[in-house]
Symmetry: C2
Subunit: 505 residues, 2 copies
Amino acid sequence: MEETINIALSIYKDYQKQNLANKFVNFLIGWDSQTEAPNDCFEARGRQIEVLSTATYKLNTSPELVKAVQTLYENRTSLNEITAHEIVVVKKNIDKIIKVPMEEFVELSTLLASSQNIWAKAKVENNFELFKPTLKRIIELLKLYLSHLETPKLKGYNILLDEYEPGFTTKEYDEFFDTLKKELVPFVKKVATKALQYNHSFTNFKYPKDDQKKFAKKIMDTLCFNHNKGLMKESEHPFTTGFGTSDVRFTVHYHEDNLASAIFSAIHELGHATYEMQVDPALDVTLSGGGASLAMHESQSRFYENIIGRSPAFWKSLFPKLKEIFPKQFKSINLNDFLKHINEVKCSLIRTEADELTYPLHIMVRYDIEKALFNNEITVDELPVIWNKLMKEYLGVEVPNNKEGILQDIHWAGAAFGYFPTYALGSAYAAQIYHSMKKDLNIKEILKSSSTKEINEWLKEKIHCYGAAKYPQEILKLATKEKFKPQYYVTYLIKKYSKIYDIKW
Amino acid sequence: MEETINIALSIYKDYQKQNLANKFVNFLIGWDSQTEAPNDCFEARGRQIEVLSTATYKLNTSPELVKAVQTLYENRTSLNEITAHEIVVVKKNIDKIIKVPMEEFVELSTLLASSQNIWAKAKVENNFELFKPTLKRIIELLKLYLSHLETPKLKGYNILLDEYEPGFTTKEYDEFFDTLKKELVPFVKKVATKALQYNHSFTNFKYPKDDQKKFAKKIMDTLCFNHNKGLMKESEHPFTTGFGTSDVRFTVHYHEDNLASAIFSAIHELGHATYEMQVDPALDVTLSGGGASLAMHESQSRFYENIIGRSPAFWKSLFPKLKEIFPKQFKSINLNDFLKHINEVKCSLIRTEADELTYPLHIMVRYDIEKALFNNEITVDELPVIWNKLMKEYLGVEVPNNKEGILQDIHWAGAAFGYFPTYALGSAYAAQIYHSMKKDLNIKEILKSSSTKEINEWLKEKIHCYGAAKYPQEILKLATKEKFKPQYYVTYLIKKYSKIYDIKW
């Protein structure tokens, strides 16, 4: 028996290596495509991706591997803890791929090589029709994909939700969003009736890109980014990617008429990047590197962006540096003006620019649409109309055009349906983690030193180090000594914003 | 029989696709490694490259492919012209790989994933010892590689030379360099006794990088670079790379105290890029895309850099634009001053900064060293001393340190021995091509329009369109109606520089 396990393990080790090399190649292609590849290269690039994804499919479905994984799965109690967990995850993944015909797998991968580019063009040109055929085909292929995977326990959209956050389906998300609707929406309505008084003249100025870049570097220093293990670049839509702990990259997008945008997307992406960099490097040679799940990843980015990054303590040392780089723009502005600005609640159009409080409402719009799409209750043609209707309903705003409406996000162009809900869930994880961290650390005191070092260390020990070697719910429980409770999120938001808006609640 | 050929063709078509996907991946890895990858990622990257190069080795040596290529080779008269040529080239390549043990192939590929990084560090630190162990291992592995490939006709260094320029071995190169030694070296000695009189105050100024970048963009426009099919970036050592005709990239390096450096490396790399972009796009799905050979490629870069880029006609329209961007630096400078500066002959240390006339002498230093290394006449330990001795002999200069001596070039760190001679040969091809072009085009007249469009077109039709679908010597003969004659090069140089230096020769 031991001999059989050893043979299976050796087959699996080889698969790990090949799989890592594939991931590395995909990382590079994605990074290049989204940051600098020239417009006309995508047709040829699509041909190469077709070949590469065929190879990936074959790698993941080889009968030899399937058999080895089955053997290891059955004998997982004799494996070390990390490998045992990995085998469970890999088996679940392989069991799925094997049910999907290779042609469909390859068609989707190939389509995705150009779809984000088509979306980008459609967005710039404010032309939903341009993107519609691609989006339709993506959804058709996803539905076809789901049709192969249905089990009595897991069907349709739930399969996608579970892929992005293991254990979370419409049942759990409906519960979560219902809590938010019940407890948060009335509060948001109350906040919306009040206005913050402060000197906002600085928002009328232009902020040259090079100066913004200088300040972004100061933020990198504050969050202790290691330049030997990663880099910052520009792209249309900010994102973080990487390969292992020694190559972590993120992007920002500078808007000359909106200083806060790049600042908070930098802090956000640095949250993701810090997570990736602080995984135990020993996991770099396994398939258990990277974050535990999307929601856990988002919990880290939103923790740094909102809980840390919009706090008075964080800006106490950084605000003078901001004034130094932009003396003209901030001439008569004080720290309080700036803090009010970055914590101002406004029912607005763009998710990525939304404030912390209304953010989950943007997610609800997308969650409702995705559910309805995969339940065949609505069609792609109807999307702009439905989008605009839901934005009116949840946020009370009129959507003036598709560029600022249905076309604003890149995700659907990447077939990432079921992804958005993890953003709201991540914010809720973050609030629960924050509650726990406060018991161990004096966060205000730490931030006086212009460095998040001790906070990074705490997160490394409690969350980051595990990588994907445990399920997110396990890690959350280890870190906070409780299972997930959305109430922490609601309490955090109401406490923070009733203070800022001077509301009794 | 036809059936057998069809089966072989179908196997070959599949190989083409896989091979192109590999080339694509290698292109991306190389580009990323040389332009932005973070310092600490190379160890992990090496592991992935090991896996990828193992796959490449297996792809190129699969018994099924070897058999199919053999069948197609025997029946090549029944194939179309392009495939027939490609099969001859591919067979030569496969026949070689198959003789090399996989472990050696993979070890070299893996070593090369980090060696250029080690070299870069050694160069910055002026520390040859740091690079020596890597260089030693590269040469050992190359010698081992050559030991597998020796035939009665082709041995040692000649195998490498023939890889970089088919049909060229020490016999041909010795002849070529002997011509240069005999006819050029006495002329250079004469030139070295004279000095050019001009106002060179502009060389004492600083040239901010952003302004240099602006001017580099003007040069791209002049050479009609298509921004939808490529891009320009920065790197330590300027280079051109790409994948097919729709993704062509080059880099420059800006030196704030040397304006001419980035200008001429931009024109040089744009020559390479123009070649890649103008290959028949139909060849993008074959293995016959890209340039015909390294010397042919270099003929194009040097044609644009020296013959076009240092000519009075080229600068007539560009010089005012240069003055516009650098008004302070060029205040009292006229076109003639600038032309003298960019055509000034100086026996100097750095190959990439060398003038057109002394450039081939730098190549001779490297050629002599490579020949001696692979004939086991010298060792790696002796390299700095021998380098310095040869520089004194050919160029009359004292080398003050290894950074500006033996460590100056990236090539050997990439195992590219046998590559340098193609640089000199390319210059000679360029002179012969120029001689031919002048019969068809009025180059001075064309350059009045601030665009090389008609020159690009001529080269496209005569040289670029063929890609690698013909041998370089065939293309040269088609384009110039003669076989290669080094005399055109000697004549061109002596005519040009005796005029500039007012020498009767």
